[in-house]
């Protein structure tokens, strides 16, 4: 747990949540993906969402980012009930998301992907146009902040490596996430340096007062930056713990559904 102390935790102040999700249910036909999940994220905190495969984490954050409409439940954004009908609405409210599938288009250039749906423009009236020069500059410099030197902003995303692609998605969300930044397993394909970069970035944006929702399967990464931890299991919350209230081992057991983890860990020599 050496990374545990890497970042200074501001012990998230008891401010009003930016987004509050109350008893969210989501059904896909006869599949109940979420069976009443409550969750909130406050300005300046990193709230980790943990859980096994298929627990419903991605489904949950998709209701927060306007992709899915919850079957039941209420979403409050800065205290008022919010009804995002599509991701664009959520984005305009200042919620940016790195989706697990990244939402990148392989045939399009890095810059065009980066600004997809939110293109900077210059000129007025009929002469209003996509400001490609600015877009390219911003894209290259944002990527460099994440520790990746693009060969060229006009390179197609399809030719990037998996981790580079993930970094573009993260850089994009960080750039546009004015109030809430949602990261769905953002480090799954990243190298050591890029991973610490992402964790440092989470810490940086948190200090700017942005609320971060961080999904990860890696307890060490979660503990390194998380202020609160909510564990999902089979569409329900197993509870929320504050940093310091829970040990890494307990957290790991909860994430695995509570069973047999110790046994497994034993047979693997404590390497998990």
């Amino acid at each position: 747990m050496s990374e545990d102390t890497t970042f200074h935790h501001g012990n998230a102040p008891e401010t009003a949540p930016i987004v509050q999700m109350k008893n969210i249910e989501k059904h896909f036909g006869n599949i109940i993906a979420l069976a009443g999940v409550s969750f909130d994220v406050r300005p300046g905190e990193c709230h980790c969402l943990l859980g096994d495969n298929g627990a419903g984490k991605s489904t949950f954050i998709k209701t927060m980012s306007g992709v899915h409409k919850p079957t039941k439940g209420e979403i409050l954004f800065e205290g008022t009930p919010m009804d995002f009908s599509n991701p664009r609405d959520a984005m305009e409210a200042g919620i940016a998301t790195v989706f697990q599938d990244l939402a990148m288009i392989p045939l399009m250039s890095v810059t065009r992907n980066f600004f997809m749906g939110r293109e900077p423009t210059k000129g007025n009236g009929l002469a209003r146009r996509f400001d490609i020069e600015t877009a390219n500059e911003v894209c290259v410099s944002e990527m460099r902040k994440m520790g990746i030197n693009l060969r060229g902003p006009d390179q197609a995303v399809g030719t990037l490596s998996g981790g580079e692609r993930q970094t573009v998605a993260i850089a994009r969300a960080v750039y546009f996430g004015a109030k809430v930044l949602i990261l769905d397993e953002p480090t799954s394909a990243l190298g050591v340096r890029q991973t610490s970069n992402v964790l440092a970035t989470i810490d940086r944006v948190r200090k700017q007062g942005i609320g971060v929702v961080f999904i990860s399967h890696n307890v060490r990464h979660a503990l390194a930056v998380g202020d609160r931890f909510t564990v999902l299991n089979r569409g329900k919350t197993l509870g929320t713990a504050r940093r310091g209230e829970i040990s890494p081992e307990e957290l790991q057991d909860l994430m695995a559904g509570g069973q047999e983890m110790a046994q497994l860990e034993g047979s693997l020599g404590g390497t998990v």
């Binding site: 939402a103 749906g117 423009t121 996509f130 060969r151």
Partner: protein, 368 residues
């Protein structure tokens, strides 16, 4: 963070040769095709083919097809098809004919009405595709038959049993808007050029080519506008994104459904424009107008580098695709070849273009 020389100095970045950069442009194939076809006809065809009158001769059908092809190309880049373009030409032609002949409306009313009418039909088929989630191929195939059938039925109703509605030319004669949609532009310029002997003229000094047919100007203007929209406007980015991956685009905040429906409306509008131009030109409208133009337009778009799967292509490519088309249709009459080779050529060209595009796409996406 303003130092951009750093990325240029990336040691893992080979200098990309000009040729390989060019290879990644979607319109490359069409431009190469134009060159090949020109070479072919300069060897086999009568030399008059590339005289001014010859060029105007093949550019006229190329323009009529090209206006459709550019609409079809944008829609294909947006990830959808419209097989009803050809029928839409007949249907909009019928509506336009009824407007000017039966209802005696001036063009300033008839043309906007026809365009709005076609755009509404396009909105209906577009919304059907988007809302049902069915492949646009099937939905617009249905519209291919529905619109063609309605054109027939409507023509019979409008004319009392005939499948041709005559009298358009008489009806629009003298209308101040007519010169924008029919006849030739720059006639004065061409006449004086001919007097000076700078272009071919008849013995009495009048030019062999009285001017540039207006459809050619429409064609060029639409190609330039479409290219500007695709490459320089946020909407162009949305078209590429919607066609590339609709989920990813929508999750990134692109209003995918609106983009797609507006593209269906655009193709319908292009079809209506072609209908107006050709109906005024012919002086009548009939139920076979625009027959099989949907296939020709899609072929021109594919030759121009559009991928059938969407998300990639160019309007300039479709522009050249349509020119190849016009050159071959008309060019064969300048040669000793049988006209019917045209169909063989069409199929062959499509096949080569698809293979070529596939290779290009692999290059762009890094062979994945």
């Amino acid at each position: 963070m303003t130092d951009t020389s750093q990325s240029a100095a990336d040691e893992r970045l080979k200098a990309e040769p000009f040729f390989s950069r060019l290879m990644k442009r979607p319109e490359l194939g069409a431009i190469a095709g134009v060159i090949l076809v020109i070479i072919f006809f300069s060897i086999t065809a009568d030399s008059t083919m590339f005289s001014l009158s010859g060029v105007i001769n093949f550019m006229t059908p190329a323009s009529q097809l090209g206006i459709l092809a550019i609409g079809a190309a944008l829609l294909m880049i947006g990830g959808e098809f419209d097989l009803s373009i050809g029928s839409m030409v007949a249907f909009a032609g019928l509506f336009f004919g009824v407007c000017v002949v039966t209802w005696q409306l001036p063009l300033i009313v008839a043309i906007p009405m026809t365009l709005i009418f076609a755009v509404s039909v396009g909105a209906v088929s577009g919304n059907l595709v988007i809302r049902s989630g069915l492949p646009s191929f099937i939905v617009t195939l249905a519209f291919l038959f529905i619109l063609r059938g309605l054109s027939l039925v409507g023509l019979k109703a409008a004319t009392g049993g005939s499948t041709q509605l005559r009298g358009v030319r008489e009806a629009v004669e003298g209308d101040w808007l007519a010169p924008f949609f029919s006849g030739d532009a720059f006639t004065g310029l061409f006449a004086s050029l001919a007097k000076m002997g700078l272009i071919e003229n008849f013995k009495n000094g009048t030019p062999k080519v009285p001017g540039i047919p207006v459809e050619i100007l429409w064609f060029i203007a639409i190609a330039l506008t479409a290219t500007y929209v695709l490459l320089r406007l946020p909407f162009g980015n949305w078209i590429f994104a919607s066609g590339g991956d609709r989920n990813a685009a929508s999750n990134s905040g692109v209003p995918v459904n609106k983009v797609k429906v507006s593209l269906f409306m655009l193709t319908a509008c292009c079809a209506a424009l072609v209908a107006i131009i050709t109906v005024i030109d012919a002086g009548s409208t009939d139920a076979r107008r625009g027959f099989q133009k949907e296939f020709e337009a899609i072929i021109a778009a594919v030759v121009g580098g559009c991928l059938l799967t969407g998300g990639y292509g160019s309007a300039i490519g479709a522009f050249f695709g349509a020119i190849i088309f016009g050159m071959v249709v008309i060019g064969l009459t300048y040669t000793d070849f049988d006209q019917d080779w045209f169909q063989v050529f069409l199929g062959g060209m499509l096949l080569i273009a698809v293979l070529f595009n596939n290779a290009i796409r692999k290059r762009v996406t890094g062979e994945r």
